[in-house]
């Protein structure tokens, strides 16, 4: 496993966590510093309203990671439970769930999240809700497929034969075997959600001004591409470093645990 794939995400997590303690002022406007190029006072320069880009990057990392983690936990738990029950019990519930996931997967990529975020209205809460509504599907499909094959394993049959209740068997004999594939899925999921959050913010559907987010910084930065390329580059490189590292981390975990994706 490549160590940088762990170091970069950890760097962003720590930076996002300690940012409020550093006394930075990501939302304070300094009209005398508009689009200032990087120097010793502002390491990454200032944006179109003279706000410090480094401070805004850290604030954006906080938003990005908060959204990614929250959605991963909520959608991961919900999707896993649904998939587990569906795959383990089968029957009409399973058929219904598969129909519903088919419909959700009929929307390409981020389109459905855009649609949900559009009608729910902008804001952090609605952004998280829109992403939760679309992210559970992957976990449900994965867990269901695994539960379906694990159900026939001998140790599960033995546990059932010994009188274990369905919940007990699922918790003690099925779920532990799902941990590795679920963690790999969640790792890729986090990278995907960082991109999704930035995409929605780029479209103006995420957290609202004056608060910072990487997607919104990219959108504003594009307008000043000619005069202040450092603005776009700072936001884009930050996003890319995190997504790249988390993806490589996912590859590493997948290979280490021999999970097929």
């Amino acid at each position: 496993m490549k160590s940088w794939s762990l170091v970069i995400p950890l760097f962003w997590v720590v930076a996002a966590a300690v940012a409020p303690l550093l006394g930075l002022q990501p939302d304070v406007i300094h009209l005398e510093h508009i689009l200032r190029t990087p120097d010793w006072d502002a390491w990454l320069g200032s944006d179109d309203l003279g706000r410090d880009i480094l401070a805004r990057l850290l604030a954006g990392a906080r938003v990005s990671l908060t959204v990614a983690m929250t959605v991963t936990v909520v959608a991961g738990v919900a999707g896993t439970l649904l998939g587990l029950v569906s795959g383990y019990f089968g029957g009409w519930l399973d058929r219904l769930l598969m129909r519903v996931t088919d419909v959700f997967q009929a929307f390409p990529g981020i389109l459905l999240a855009i649609a949900f975020a559009a009608v729910l209205g902008p804001g952090l809460g609605n952004l998280i809700l829109a992403l939760c509504l679309t992210s559970w599907v992957g976990y449900a499909r994965l867990t269901r497929a695994q539960a379906l094959s694990l159900r026939a394993r001998q140790h599960v049959e033995a546990a059932r034969a010994l009188g274990g209740s369905p919940w007990y068997v699922m918790r003690r004999h099925v779920l532990p075997l799902l941990a590795a594939p679920l963690i790999v899925e969640a790792t890729y999921g986090i990278a995907g959600l960082v991109v999704a959050e930035a995409s929605l913010s780029f479209l103006g559907l995420g957290i609202q001004p004056p608060h910072a987010s990487w997607g919104a910084m990219l959108r504003d930065g594009v307008r000043y591409l000619l005069v202040a390329p450092h603005y776009v580059l700072a936001a884009g490189l930050s996003l890319m470093s995190l997504v790249l590292a988390v993806n490589v981390l996912g590859d590493g975990l997948r290979d280490a645990w021999d999970v097929r994706t």
Partner: protein
């Protein structure tokens, strides 16, 4: 023929679900959708008129039946701001999106497949490492970051191409390249992995043992087998390019369906939003099903249950 009909029938529940979900979008608007769309300055009469026009004063099942009935006649409703029929808006925008996605597909194929072949033929040497790094980097670059970067390099630093818009023929180059890169990365990885698998097979060893030149072994024997899984990926990803087009068109000011969607969201013109989402999703389903169908035709081992 029966096979084709069965295939078409299997897609119906999904299409129904897609229609239901897009229909329900308008009902997910918190509070009164009419108030959200018209803003606070609208008069009560305006609101009532729009409410009646959208059928929002009817029970939900009747609204849905009306929605389906109108769609069946090609009536998508009209924009609540400009009152232009949405079908007309779509007809204006769809060709631009098709042009963009098809060109992106061609570019992605021209980049990804040769790169994957080179990587596989130089397994674990520097061309392979380079191709893997290229694929890894591009897959971590969303369109709204790659697009501005390409603009910066090829339109501003090296003023070769237009920054945005669609005035000249060259305007399509940067958006198509932006849209293509993610798929090119995927195709590089797929082609490489698939060809590496095939190069270890017995029939490749036989071809080499016959004394065929390496060029013939790779191009005529191995590649043919290796490209089958790649074809499927291309088909499935053609649909995903449509989702990428939403962002790419917005970045470059390309007047396609994706940009129409984003504009309608900004203006809270929800009937237009609904129609764009529906059209993109249906196109995606159609392309995916056609890919499955084509794959089953190409590979006699695949049969549908």
């Amino acid at each position: 023929m029966r096979f084709l009909l069965r295939h078409l029938a299997s897609v119906l529940p999904v299409v129904f679900g897609v229609l239901l979900l897009t229909f329900l979008l308008l009902h997910m608007v918190p509070g009164d959708p009419v108030e959200v769309m018209l803003g606070e300055s609208a008069t009560a009469a305006d609101r009532d008129r729009l409410r009646a026009e959208l059928g929002l004063n009817q029970p939900l099942p009747i609204q849905f039946a009306d929605y389906l009935g109108r769609l069946a006649q090609g009536d998508f409703g009209h924009s609540i701001h400009t009152h232009v029929p949405i079908a007309e808006l779509l007809a204006q925008r769809i060709p631009a999106t098709i042009r963009l996605t098809l060109l992106a597909l061609v570019v992605a194929l021209m980049m990804g497949v040769p790169l994957g072949i080179i990587a596989a033929l130089h397994h674990n040497r520097w061309p392979d490492r380079g191709a893997r790094l290229f694929a890894l980097t591009l897959s971590a670059m969303p369109h709204f970051w790659l697009g501005p970067l390409l603009m910066l390099v090829f339109a501003l630093w090296l003023p070769w191409l237009p920054v945005s818009g669609m005035e000249t023929g060259a305007s399509i180059v940067l958006p198509a390249l932006t849209l293509a890169c993610g798929l090119a990365a995927l195709l590089t990885r797929m082609t490489r992995a698939s060809l590496l698998d095939v190069l270890g097979e017995d029939f490749v060893r036989t071809a080499r043992a016959k004394g065929l030149p390496e060029r013939t072994v790779v191009l005529r024997h191995a590649l043919r087998a290796a490209l089958l899984p790649v074809v499927t990926v291309v088909g499935l990803q053609l649909g995903s390019l449509l989702a990428g087009a939403v962002i790419t068109e917005t970045v470059f000011g390309w007047d396609g369906v994706g940009r129409l969607l984003v504009e309608s969201i900004e203006k809270r013109d929800y009937p237009v939003t609904q129609a764009c989402v529906l059209v993109i999703a249906l196109a995606y389903v159609a392309v995916n099903r056609l890919t499955d169908f084509a794959y089953a035709r190409l590979d006699p081992r695949v049969r549908f249950v």
